[in-house]
């Protein structure tokens, strides 16, 4: 029992930290709270990250509907890391816009906790609850700037969309429950593969997969379930956007991978064709719309939709045979989520800084950024190049690991479509680069950065280079994590 609780240490730390934050908010003075709250949050996240890291290699049996596998710990680490960046980058942003800092950090911690339990869930009930917890805290975070029409509108839309989508997903889950008679994912896989539940129940498999995918697709913002995302990303406070577009989205993929791969391998024919189609749709449509955006923030939102398509390639390319070897597909998802999360977090952090410094996030606000803040421009450049998949940055490692399984499965059509999309994406990233570097403006109006933002950006940059250059280490981590999920 105790040993199992230790497995839950990362989660426990988060809960405790959240409580401390609320208490500190009650008792600390306003001035102290400004640094104390994010400080405590950071410490808690860091501790949680360490706890997750230490236990990464655990091969514990499933308990309390939670898996203590390396797959889950991988996502927990990514989540902790990115949320730390979010906190660092968003400290000043939030401080200037709201006085409910205690609530903000507490909710952020709860959202992180939700991610923790979701990615580890091995039971549909836990899974659903985790996702809903994440969603509900996210609604609040999105609408956190209660005086801001846009923030509120974003939250309302997000809420309505999310609630409906999760209801649809839940209906799908109930069908799965009906088919298999169990809520446990492992058990489900067993019953499906052993042929216990064949016959006319097969009729339900496809509707169930489709309905379930709606919920996952909503979280991962896959086309055509993506439409909430750009609006929510634009309206939400930028730190929250960072959170939503990175780890929250990543959670969608984690859940999808776990449900599909560990629970429904027998139905792979259904979900493979579904994800194949969604991957193409997602990357293509996401890119096409991103191409036509006038706001960098919104462009990044759409680009994040497009990236979801790329991540999906990892799932499409899943090969059950080679989960312990690199390029199993799942490790591609992991690599991509990691790389994409730190990169996009960085990119949105820059957007936040520019919003603060220049008063907006349209392309014009980025014009001549190199003169106004060389560091910001350089950082953004690195992020954009990483998003475009240029080596030796993280984005390249990520693309490498999702293209590979697709090639291995000989889905050449998908590969070529992805290729074209990668280039189209580079096209609109370059548009930002063009504005930042090629457009000459008078250099007054320099943008100053807070310490927290600087640290956050440096963390992203270092992370991006680290993932890109020491790809071996991260690939090892990802491959090991992927193997962990399949219980190997």
């Amino acid at each position: 029992m105790v040993s199992q609780l230790i497995r839950l240490l990362p989660e426990l730390i988060l809960v405790i930290t959240a409580i401390i934050v609320i208490l500190a908010d009650l008792y600390a003075r306003r001035r102290t709270a400004r640094w104390l709250l994010p400080g405590v949050t950071l410490v808690g996240l860091a501790a949680s990250l360490v706890a997750a890291f230490v236990q990464w290699a655990a091969r514990e049996p499933v308990a309390f509907t939670l898996a203590a596998d390396s797959f889950a710990y991988f996502f927990k680490m990514v989540a902790a890391l990115v949320v730390m960046i979010v906190v660092l980058a968003g400290m000043d942003y939030m401080r200037e816009r709201t006085r409910f800092l205690g609530e903000f950090y507490a909710l952020l911690l709860v959202a992180t906790l939700a991610i923790y339990v979701t990615v580890a869930a091995t039971d549909i009930i836990m899974l659903y609850l985790g996702l809903e917890t994440l969603s509900i805290t996210s609604y609040v975070l999105t609408g956190f700037l209660r005086g801001d029409k846009r923030s509120n509108e974003a939250a309302v839309k997000y809420f309505l969309y999310g609630a409906a989508a999760s209801a649809v997903m839940l209906y799908g889950f109930s069908l799965l429950y009906g088919i298999t008679g169990t809520t446990d994912l492992q058990e489900m896989a067993k019953r499906l593969t052993s042929g216990e539940v064949m016959g006319s129940l097969v009729w339900l498999a496809w509707p169930a997969v489709v309905l379930v995918t709606v919920g996952f697709g909503f979280k991962a913002s896959l086309v055509p379930f993506h439409q909430w995302a750009p609006d929510a990303y634009e309206g939400a406070p930028t730190p929250v956007t960072m959170f939503l577009s990175t780890v929250s989205k990543g959670t969608g993929f984690a859940v999808m991978a776990r449900v599909f791969v560990s629970a429904l391998p027998a139905l792979s024919e259904y979900w493979l064709s579904l994800t194949y189609g969604l991957a193409i749709l997602t990357m293509t449509l996401g890119n096409l719309v991103a191409l036509r955006q006038a706001s960098v923030k919104r462009m990044l939102a759409y680009s994040s939709v497009a990236h979801a398509g790329f991540i999906l390639m990892g799932i499409v390319g899943i090969s059950a045979a080679g989960a312990t070897t690199p390029f199993s597909g799942i490790d591609g998802v992991l690599m991509y989520v990691l790389a994409y999360a730190i990169t996009n977090a960085g990119a949105f952090a820059v957007v936040a800084a520019v919003e603060d410094g220049a008063g907006g996030a349209s392309f014009e606000h980025f014009s001549g950024l190199i003169a106004r803040s060389p560091f910001l421009a350089a950082a953004m450049l690195i992020f954009l190049l990483s998003l475009a998949g240029i080596p030796p940055l993280a984005g390249f490692a990520a693309k490498f690991f999702v293209f590979a399984p697709v090639i291995r499965q000989q889905y050449y059509v998908l590969a070529v479509i992805a290729l074209v999309n990668a280039v189209v994406a580079a096209g609109y990233y370059l548009k930002v680069v063009k504005h930042m570097f090629f457009v000459e403006v008078n250099p007054n109006g320099a943008i100053s950065l807070s310490r927290g933002m600087e640290i956050a950006l440096w963390a992203c940059i270092v992370g991006i280079f680290a993932v890109g250059i020491f790809m071996n280490w991260f690939a090892w981590l990802a491959t090991g994590s992927a193997a962990g999920m399949l219980g190997m």
Binding site: D123, I136, R150, L170, S174
Partner: protein, 102 residues
């Protein structure tokens, strides 16, 4: 004994009605009601499966409880958001809320 499929049919109809409400009502609160209907439909499903396939396993019951709990939390947050919306715009008609688009 009532056939299982009857329950499922009721559930399906309820689900679709709820979905229709979500899609067609202008008022945000009405939409929320639609969502609640959908969740109820799910619960009927879950409990029907529980009853007809494995009444000895309490998972279905747990599920139903959790869903109800989540629904409550969702309703609380949602209604709070709607109230804030109303305060900011004096409307809760969702099709009038489209600052963010394109």
């Amino acid at each position: 004994m009532i056939p299982l499929s009857w329950f499922l049919a009721v559930s399906a109809i309820l689900f679709v009605i709820g979905f229709f409400g979500v899609l067609s009502r202008r008022n945000a609160i009405a939409i929320l009601m639609g969502i609640e209907l959908m969740l109820n439909a799910v619960n009927i499903n879950v409990l029907a499966f529980w009853r007809y396939t494995q009444p000895e396993n309490p998972a279905g019951l747990v599920w139903a409880i959790i869903v109800i709990t989540v629904a409550a939390a969702e309703a609380a947050v949602g209604l709070a958001l709607f109230i804030a919306l109303y305060r900011l715009r004096t409307t809760v008609n969702i099709d009038e809320v489209d600052l963010l688009k394109g």
